[in-house]
Amino acid sequence: MGARVFSADKFVYLVGLNLAILVVLFALVVYVLAVKSAPSILSLGAGLLGSVWNTDEGRYGLLAPLLGSVLVTVYSIPLIIVFSIPLVVLAEEYLRGLAGKLVNLVIDMSAGLPTVIYAYIGLAFMSNVLKDWLERPLHELLGFLPLFACRPLTGQNLMTATVILSISAVPYMAALVRESLRMIPKSYVEASYSIGLYKEEVILMKLSMVRPAIVSALLLSSSRVLTETTIVSLVAGNQYVITPCALSPVSTIPSLIVNNFGYSVMYPLLDSVLFASSLILFVLSLSLNAAGLYLNKRFRVVVSE
């Protein structure tokens, strides 16, 4: 035992090896993305951001799927906020004991539920329900707005995708917000009750205290929505169109990759275009994630001081 305890600390080598593994992995990722996407970026240039996608004519404009990705993400933000924060408040503030614990359990369990389950339920069950009970009525009542001007032919469209992506992201967001609410020192809450504030006023105060954490959680959830593949591939409709209408089928970058990668060798440059689009996706998702993690870390420092 003695010899082992006092032997030189060789652990440094393990740490070094480990660092090397991670760095090599990351370098491989960057290398493959750069080498594979270079041909299309060099030969098409700004044409990559064009609006026409036609593999037969060799026109690979990524504007439609890019816009689809952005719209799905932007539209889901208000839904995620409206459905996640009250859910956390319900579990943490209104329900006591077992009921609160159960709601929290449901949140945690749903946060990690395989997205392909959400996707299949969305396709086989919810898209029809949404079409009949939400999208048709919206089109008939508010059809004069460009947002609802087109007729929802199938249940697979931008709005259905947004709703299902939001449902899948709400539990994740709720779990993140809950952790930040639990970090507020008890003395603050007791102090606010002692000056005679209503429960709802204390809740609003607590929410405003964790606002940076909410923004951080929202950035992380948006990154999940942006890069989500199975849900959009199955319920967004996969049409390369640019339209202001939320009831139209759309495609996103991940669904573009899923639908075209299989036969990408048959067309010149297509394979490189798809790598370029996944590079764009990586950059977008990385910025959202990095901003989210940075804000979250700063919030932790502020609370613990």
Binding site: F11, L22, G112, Y118
Partner: protein, 284 residues
């Protein structure tokens, strides 16, 4: 109390509770629908659901099983977590132990970038690194894609587990002359045993629910069981990719059968989730 103030309070309460209830209902509907639509098919197929092969296009009834895909799921997630765990343990220890050093900041940048890597991007990268040179999609390529998903997730969980152990414990370890290796083994993994076990179970649950990283890497062999070690180099499938394939099928029996596959996936996920909760609750 002014009337305006109590009105505002009432308004906040009503809107919070309404939207919370709608949200809870929507989330519960997902769980209920999986069970309600899946259960009749599971009863119809009985235990053969776990070992038979999926229905063929010319079949009228959604009769069959998810056998090969279930094995594919277990093998690929198992390999992925087995590969990622040692690396994640040491990386997380490094980030806690050497906090503030330059290489930890560097490590954090790499870790954040891997964390932000979209799963579909992982799929295309592993495709060009492994599938093209090997000339076939394979269980191995799928497992490595999943390992790439598991790694950053596991590092972030483990960093949380390790930093929740007070620094004085680590210092006490060094004070009695333990090496870093022994501090990691006896102090961090020793005290954080339940946290580490829970992390492994959670990562397993997360990884076996992934679809996108497998789409171009693992293949689509939904009818053949992996039989030997050589099968690692041959195409396979997982329950997630099976559901994805079935849900794009134009044949009703296959499309319907995806409910049964979803239920199996749901049960496996729930079991792993429950396991991660149970080991976390018990301080070993």
């Amino acid at each position: 109390m002014s009337r305006r103030r109590s009105l505002k309070v009432a308004l906040v309460r009503v809107s919070l509770l309404t939207s919370a209830l709608v949200s809870l209902t929507l989330i519960l509907v997902v769980h209920i629908v999986v069970v309600v639509y899946g259960l009749p098919l599971a009863l119809l197929n009985g235990l053969s659901l776990l070992y038979a092969t999926p229905p063929l296009p010319n079949q009228d009834a959604p009769v069959g099983g998810v056998g090969p895909s279930l094995v594919g799921t277990l093998v690929s997630s198992g390999i992925a977590v087995a590969l990622a765990t040692p690396v994640a343990l040491i990386a997380a220890f490094t980030m806690v132990e050497y906090r503030g050093r330059w290489f930890v900041d560097f490590l954090r940048v790499v870790f954040t970038s891997l964390y932000g890597l979209p799963t579909i991007t992982i799929s295309v990268i592993v495709y060009s690194l492994l599938v093209i040179p090997m000339r076939t999609q394979s269980l191995l390529a799928g497992s490595l894609s999943l390992a790439l998903v598991a790694l950053p997730v596991e590092i972030s969980y483990l960093e949380g587990v390790f930093s929740s152990i007070p620094q004085t414990y680590r210092e006490a370890g060094y004070a009695i002359g333990l090496t870093r290796w022994l501090v990691l083994r006896r102090v961090l993994i020793g005290i954080g045993r339940s946290g580490v076990a829970s992390t492994v179970a959670l990562t397993l649950a997360r990884v076996m629910g992934e679809t996108a990283p497998l789409l171009f890497t693992i293949g689509n062999a939904i009818n053949t069981y992996p039989s030997s070690l050589y099968s690692l180099l041959q195409p396979s499938s997982t329950i997630t990719t099976l559901i994805f394939t079935l849900s794009s099928s134009p044949f009703p029996s296959q499309f319907q059968f995806a409910w049964a596959a979803s239920l199996v996936l749901y049960v496996v996920y729930t079991a792993l989730f429950a396991l991660s909760r149970m080991v976390r609750g018990v301080e070993l």
